[in-house]
């Protein structure tokens, strides 16, 4: 399916990289670049993508790509954009592709600065909800109740006690022209959103749900299935905002309960089947209900 969608055009992110089997992020990158075309410079922070795509001497990147440090991808991108402007290289665009740790947490100040300055950068966050490159530690993007290596389940702990940071809303509050959420389970929608963002100027933000078989702990052939269940239960709303107003929402044709999504992933095992797990499960279902109501996903 995915290859058919890519058509005959040569991929700009070729095979041979070292991503885990079933990696949602690697899949997303290939489709992002299909939508951007090759007149781009890609910036990535430290993280899974940097690690699996850049072992010295090898590269799957067929576009210029730069990794600098963990928390500065937005500022590196601002610098690249400023250089392109100064050199009047008007057609070349700047795209950041980074993980949620870099985006929600350590690079958040740098991201906010870039957004506030109005720099001409498309920032794409591949959100797998934890620090996967270091083995799955909690980030600001980790969902409520998920078990992580720094917030494990134990006699005194039922996983993460805080909810996920609502970054798309925070980005939108900067007054940027384009904010969207996407999922690797809906690659056509993802490509369309990237294309739309590329047609605009100024700071733009797309957050992609990229299930991680290694740390979410599900069989690697189920990446798209898990992604779909995340969307259909309401926990991963797919929408588009232009100038701060929601202009497009992916409605749920067939709503599913959160338990169908959670039971696929061992990080939620304690919520699905454990003593006293009902409370956590109810809280997550309520969270999905609220999201469905907020974005009117059923209407």
């Amino acid at each position: 399916m995915a290859d058919k969608a890519l058509g005959k055009r040569e991929s700009l992110f070729v095979s041979g990289h070292r991503a885990c089997h079933g990696c949602g992020l690697a899949l997303a990158v290939r489709h992002i670049l299909q939508a951007t075309g090759n007149d781009v410079i890609v910036v990535s922070p430290t993280g899974c993508l940097e690690t699996f795509s850049s072992p010295y001497g090898y590269s799957p990147w067929r576009v210029p790509w730069i990794h600098h440090v963990f928390e500065n991808a937005p500022a590196i991108a601002s610098g690249v954009a400023a250089a392109l402007k100064a050199q009047r290289r008007d057609t070349t665009r700047v795209v950041v592709i980074g993980g949620d740790g870099a985006t929600f947490d350590i690079g958040f100040g740098s991201l906010s600065g870039m957004l506030e300055r109005g720099d001409d950068v498309l920032y794409i966050c591949a959100d797998n909800g934890a620090y996967m490159n270091t083995g799955g530690q909690r980030s600001g993007a980790t969902p409520f109740c998920a078990a992580t290596t720094t917030h494990p389940v134990g006699k005194a702990s039922a996983g993460k006690t805080e909810k996920k940071k609502d970054l798309p809303e925070i980005v939108a509050a900067h007054g940027v022209p384009y904010v969207a959420t996407a999922s690797v389970a809906y690659l056509g929608d993802l490509r369309q959103k990237v294309k739309k963002a590329m047609a605009l100027h100024g700071p733009r933000y797309i957050q992609i749900d990229t299930p991680c078989p290694s740390v979410w702990n599900f069989p690697s052939h189920l990446t798209l299935e898990v992604g779909r269940l995340g969307v259909s239960c309401g926990l991963v709303p797919l929408f588009e905002m232009l100038d701060g107003k929601i202009t497009k929402i992916r409605k749920l044709k067939k709503r599913t309960p959160v338990i169908d999504y959670l039971k696929q992933q061992k990080r939620f095992q304690h919520v699905v089947a454990g003593e006293g797990s009902e409370e956590g499960l109810m809280a997550i279902q309520e969270q999905a209900d609220r999201t469905i109501e907020k974005y009117n996903l059923l209407g």
């Binding site: 010295y56 210029p64 790509w65």
Partner: protein
């Protein structure tokens, strides 16, 4: 007619930067650096500066913006001081590692805690291991000249490293001095457009900032070190070329002042050298054979010049406006590592002086010379650095 004016040191730096025509400038305020970026901002507001001026939200981003711009093939500049320089530390290591040749003014200021905005060298000394070339200047004129040299050094194909021009906060940034400016044609002839061999461009897609394992990492690090060491002759050449252009020769990597027959040689960096030179003259009149080595290029370290100027001396006294806690001053350690243990080398002593803006005045210089002579005649170099002007009553 030469363009000669009395200007603030910060303005001299801003005018040098303007003359070098950077594509991108990143700016963030911190005392006592702020006048530099404010002056550049005024130039931009008046349409006199043809640069993208990026007003960032932190020094971390300032260093990152110039790194990104440099990788994309643009001449780039930023400035900072003290805590701001420390915040840039991680970025500077990576940028040197990726061979990004931007220029940064390191305005010297003390490091917290206690918070203090006066001059010492702890901030830039803390960055000595980053792979950034460090030049230290004594005057506003030298700051102007060295910023122009800095871009040429940074962008030299055999060097390709960031260059930091270190200048003492307040003493140099906020004092007004006579400065002689070059005309823009002369600067253009000296400093051609930045045309790097590699830069971020879709027509030639390259992967920058790879993950390197132990099988190649040492070679990467050695390449940076080698660029520094092998870059020394090139830095000398560039400084000579500029000296020919300006008529102002500061002596290359070090400024050796009355060292020829000196028995006692002081070593220092930055603006305190002015006071020391006056005191050297005064002591000479009293018959004491004293001289000064002012280190102008601290990284790469000019040990050949220091050996040439100091090996005939009896004692070398290093004034360190910094300290490596639990050891000594950084410059003292460097000088010792290159002078001590060689046959006929002088005794080398380390003095910690001038932290947090404490004045290194003529009395302090005399105290150091007296102390050096005493320790030499007793043949008793102390195990620890000597702290000058310390008030023991205040130390718990």
């Amino acid at each position: 007619m030469a363009d000669i004016r009395v200007v603030e040191g910060s303005e001299a730096v801003a005018l040098a930067v303007k003359a070098c025509r950077p594509d991108v400038i990143a700016a963030y305020p911190i005392s006592p650096q702020t006048h530099i970026v404010e002056t550049l901002a005024r130039m931009a507001a008046d349409g006199e500066l043809n640069s993208e001026y990026v007003r960032v939200e932190s020094e971390f981003s300032a260093a990152s913006v110039v790194s990104g711009a440099s990788a994309a093939g643009s001449r780039s500049y930023t400035a900072s001081a003290s805590q701001g320089l420390l915040l840039m530390t991680e970025v500077l290591y990576a940028s040197a590692g990726m061979r990004l040749p931007f220029v940064i003014t390191g305005v010297n200021r003390s490091i917290s805690a206690p918070i203090n905005i006066q001059v010492d060298h702890q901030d830039t000394i803390s960055l000595r291991d980053t792979g950034v070339v460090q030049l230290y200047v004594e005057s506003a004129q030298e700051a102007y000249d060295m910023h122009i040299a800095a871009f040429k050094i940074a962008e030299d194909p055999s060097i390709m490293l960031p260059v930091m021009v270190c200048m003492d906060g307040w003493v140099l940034t906020h004092s007004y001095e006579r400065v002689e400016f070059l005309d823009s044609k002369a600067v253009d002839a000296f400093l051609p457009l930045f045309k790097p061999e590699h830069y971020l461009v879709p027509a030639d897609p390259k992967t920058w900032g790879s993950y390197a394992e132990g099988d190649v990492l040492m070679e990467f690090k050695y390449s940076i070190h080698k660029a520094m060491i092998a870059g020394k002759p090139r830095i000398r050449e560039i400084m000579n070329e500029l000296a020919t252009l300006t008529g102002r020769d500061y002596g290359g990597l070090v400024d050796a002042y009355r060292t020829g027959d000196a028995e006692v040689i002081l070593v220092a960096m930055g603006s305190m050298a002015g006071t020391i030179k006056d005191e050297v003259d005064a002591l000479r009149k009293e018959g004491k054979k004293v001289g000064l080595i002012r280190i102008r290029c601290y990284r790469p370290f000019p040990h050949e010049e220091i050996w040439a100027a100091a090996h005939r001396a009896k004692v070398v006294a290093v004034l360190d406006a910094n300290v490596s806690m639990g050891s000594e001053g950084a410059v003292g350690l460097d000088v010792k590592s290159k002078l001590c243990g060689r046959p006929g080398g002088p005794m080398v002593l380390d003095f910690i002086a001038g932290l947090g803006g404490r004045e290194v005045n003529s009395t302090a210089v005399r105290t150091i010379v007296d102390c050096a002579e005493r320790l030499l005649s007793a043949n008793a170099p102390p195990a620890e650095a000597v702290w000058i002007d310390l008030n023991p009553a205040l130390v718990p």
